[in-house]
């Protein structure tokens, strides 16, 4: 697997430079929210983009930095969504608290299910994680006293900050922006921390990493736990935004479980900015395609999306971030006389 980082910049950038880029990037990312603050239609799309960006960034912690392509993050997403919705509807617990409890729960569950599966590599690992998503779906349908079963859970509209239910779409968009800002900030920090270096080492060459004394399994578990915790928080936000969740919605692979992976890929897997860029590219685009094309011929919008995904893969092999880096590199080469 090619390493976006070492290919072009053998020297890791300074901490200052990384944080400057972060604040600059986040300021840029907040622009759409500011620009469209009066347009609920766009605010909805923007909010969803931030949320998916945050979820993809959460996945990226173990999937990108750690190189463990989990396709089962829907499980953690579901834990966040169901715990938050259930505790709110049944016991009136504030989602701000429940989401933290769900995050811890998801981290614990992740350790439990990852510990046996982390001995698998590459495609084996990915397929095994898919199995977890399927099992979770069946369980959510079956244990209906807890999850509402196929009926799902409906959260009535009781506006209030303590309920995480807002009247205005811009408030939701701000909440989602906060989420992605926090996850990306964490990614910036993680990237330069010891755990981050270990994760990258494991991604690059697991055997060499082990040989140089890194406790590979522990590193993977830690990365997975953090990733799962953030994903659960994203699930909680999703539940409070939609205010209706059911197993087919939560454990849907194409829209949720595998989506985090896809967005990170097209944005630039393993980079800090990649997942959010991927979300910014795909989510609004999906919406536009659906509005323009969906009723022409059924499914036409998704056929076009699929086609463009294939093209994007072919022309942006290392995602958006990789394409930007290539562009910069080409400019540099032009300037230097050879």
């Amino acid at each position: 697997m090619s390493n976006i980082d070492t290919n072009n910049s053998p020297v890791i950038e300074s901490g200052q430079s990384a944080w400057i880029k972060y604040f600059g990037g986040m300021a840029l990312a907040s622009l759409p929210l500011a620009l469209f603050v009066d347009d609920p239609n766009w605010l909805n799309i923007i909010a969803f983009t931030y949320l998916m960006g945050g979820l993809a960034s959460s996945w990226n912690i173990i999937g990108g930095f750690g190189g463990q392509h989990s396709l089962g993050h829907g499980v953690f997403f579901g834990i966040g969504a169901y715990m938050t919705a259930g505790l709110f509807v049944n016991y009136g617990w504030t989602p701000w608290l429940s989401m933290l409890i769900a995050a811890v729960t998801a981290a614990a569950v992740s350790a439990l299910i990852s510990w046996p599966t982390f001995r698998l590599r590459g495609p084996f690992f990915a397929i095994a994680t898919l199995a977890f998503n399927e099992v979770a779906f069946v369980m959510a349908n079956h244990f209906d006293s807890v999850t509402g079963g196929p009926r799902g859970i409906m959260i009535p509209f009781k506006a209030g900050v303590e309920n995480m239910i807002f009247k205005e779409r811009w408030q939701y968009a701000l909440l989602m922006f906060g989420f992605v800002a926090i996850v990306v900030a964490f990614s910036v920090w993680l990237r330069r921390s010891r755990l981050g270096y270990y994760l990258l080492a494991v991604r690059e060459d697991e055997d060499s990493a082990r040989a140089s004394g890194i406790h590979v399994l522990s590193v993977k578990l830690q990365g997975m736990a953090i990733s799962a915790a953030f994903t659960a928080i994203g699930g909680a936000l999703f539940a409070m935004y939609l205010r209706f969740i059911d197993p087919p919605t939560i454990f849907n692979l194409q829209d949720i479980g595998v989506k985090f992976f896809l967005l990170s890929l097209i944005g630039g897997v393993g980079t800090v900015a990649g997942p959010l860029l991927g979300a910014a590219l795909i989510v609004p685009f999906e919406n536009i395609l659906r509005v323009e094309f969906a009723d022409a011929l059924p499914g036409f919008n998704l056929a076009v999306l699929g086609f463009l995904m294939v093209l994007a893969a072919l022309f942006m092999k290392r995602g958006v971030v990789g394409a930007i880096q290539d562009l910069i590199q080409r400019r540099r080469n032009k300037r230097e006389p050879s």
Binding site: N41, N44, I45, N141, G152, M154, L242, F244, A294, D295
Partner: protein, 405 residues
């Protein structure tokens, strides 16, 4: 100087008012349905019902003196339901919303519409919670899931039991359904109603409609030795189930499908001779008596003229009738404001048999139309023939044997 600016101002004002009255000359209705994805066929069919109703409405003078324009909004999951409502309300400036083949989408879409205080008129989705949650802008003209159960239980008691020459207390039933909210909800209600009637429910089973194999389901049902198999599901599992029943050599005395199984898709799968005798509870079809559903033949003709083929599924006519009840409510209210329409709809008191699908109009306090029912049809020589309730049945129709050939 002042005079010319004043004149310019008046000219501008009149142009602006002309433009805005031009916009206000149409009432825009957003039609939310899955137009893509696996349920596109039925989502489109439902909207065709709306389109025919709108055509007829515009031909007879429109609504509140204005033409009605239907604008489609695609949504294939609950998240898209929100986005589509945003799109329709803020971009297309629709005055109200109409939908929806899928309950989960209706759930979030109607909620999003509430934030804008726009009416959400539901014609097809059956999930009980949609009306039970008490959303002020939500009105449902079509039957809810419970009615599937009510009709199928009545069919067991009034049609099947006599045909099998059994008392209802001696009738044994196996309830099978697909495992999502639709199937399981109906099955739960069916169990309750049938048990109340005195029938013996020997088992309740569920399966995924995407199942690759239903042998286990069929064998479990066969083992319980019921007289009647009732299946509530979608087309792929219904077809596979019939094929599996045939393969396993099981011959229940009667098979009753609920909701699906009434389209050429099923005919093609198992063939007319095996399908002979199978009963289907569903939305009223186009072969009902005109006294039961006035205008049902006219709907058929209009559909064939506009789309150049036969209706794909009867959900469309229910949508058509639902849209007509909507238009009447708006006319009575003199407005599209949800509170006014709600008040006007609540005053409606039309008997069953007023509309093409046999519906009446009488809304309970949760704004659920209590006069919307299903009918039961039987496959006879490769065609679906309405056999229940007797008010709907054409004179020369008889009930053919229910057992397997």
């Amino acid at each position: 100087m002042k005079k010319s600016t004043a004149l310019a101002g008046i000219a501008l004002a009149s142009v602006v008012s002309l433009v805005s009255t031009a916009n206000a000359q149409t009432i825009k209705i957003g039609a939310i349905n899955p137009y893509s994805g696996p349920l596109a066929l039925y989502g489109t069919e439902v909207t065709r019902g709306y389109e025919i109703a709108v055509d007829q409405l515009n031909a007879s003078g429109g609504l509140l003196g204005k033409k009605v324009e239907l604008i489609r909004g695609d949504a294939t999951n609950p998240q898209q339901g929100i986005a589509t409502v945003e799109q329709l309300v803020t971009r297309e400036k629709v005055d109200l919303l109409l939908g929806t083949y899928v309950s989960g989408i209706s759930m979030t879409a109607s909620d999003a519409a509430m934030r804008y205080n726009k009416l959400y008129w539901e014609t097809n989705a059956v999930f009980q919670t949609l009306t039970e949650r008490g959303l002020p802008n939500f009105i449902r003209s079509g039957p809810d899931g419970n009615v599937f159960a009510v009709t199928s239980s009545k069919v067991v008691r009034d049609l099947i039991a006599p045909a099998l020459k059994k008392d209802i207390k001696d009738v044994k039933v196996w309830l099978e359904s697909e495992d999502s909210v639709y199937g399981t909800g109906v099955a739960k209600a069916q169990k309750q109603l049938l048990t109340e009637m005195g029938a013996q429910v020997v088992g309740v089973g569920a399966h995924s409609w995407k199942s690759i194999d239903l042998n286990d389901t069929v064998l479990r049902a066969k083992q319980a030795n019921p007289d009647i198999l009732i299946q509530t599901g979608y087309v792929p599992d219904g077809n596979l189930m019939l094929r599996t029943i045939r393969e396993q050599g099981w011959k229940p005395s009667a098979i009753l499908f609920v909701g699906t199984g009434d389209t050429p898709e099923t005919l093609e799968a198992v063939g007319a001779s095996y399908l002979e005798g199978v009963l289907v509870v569903g939305y009223p079809r186009n072969d009902i008596k005109d006294s039961y559903g006035p205008g049902n033949k006219a709907y058929l003709a209009a559909y064939q003229a506009k789309y150049k083929k036969d209706p794909i599924a009867p959900q469309g006519m229910a949508a058509f009738s639902g849209a007509q009840i909507l238009f009447e409510s708006i006319k009575a209210a003199g407005s599209v404001d949800p509170d006014k329409v709600r008040a006007a709809a609540q005053k409606l008191d039309k008997p069953e048999g007023t509309y093409a699908s046999g519906f009446g109009a009488k809304f309970d306090d949760k704004m659920q139309n209590t006069r919307a029912s299903f009918t039961a049809s039987q496959w006879q020589s490769g065609a679906m023939v309405t056999v229940y309730p007797k008010e709907a049945v054409l004179p020369n129709v008889t009930l053919k044997p229910l057992g397997r050939p």
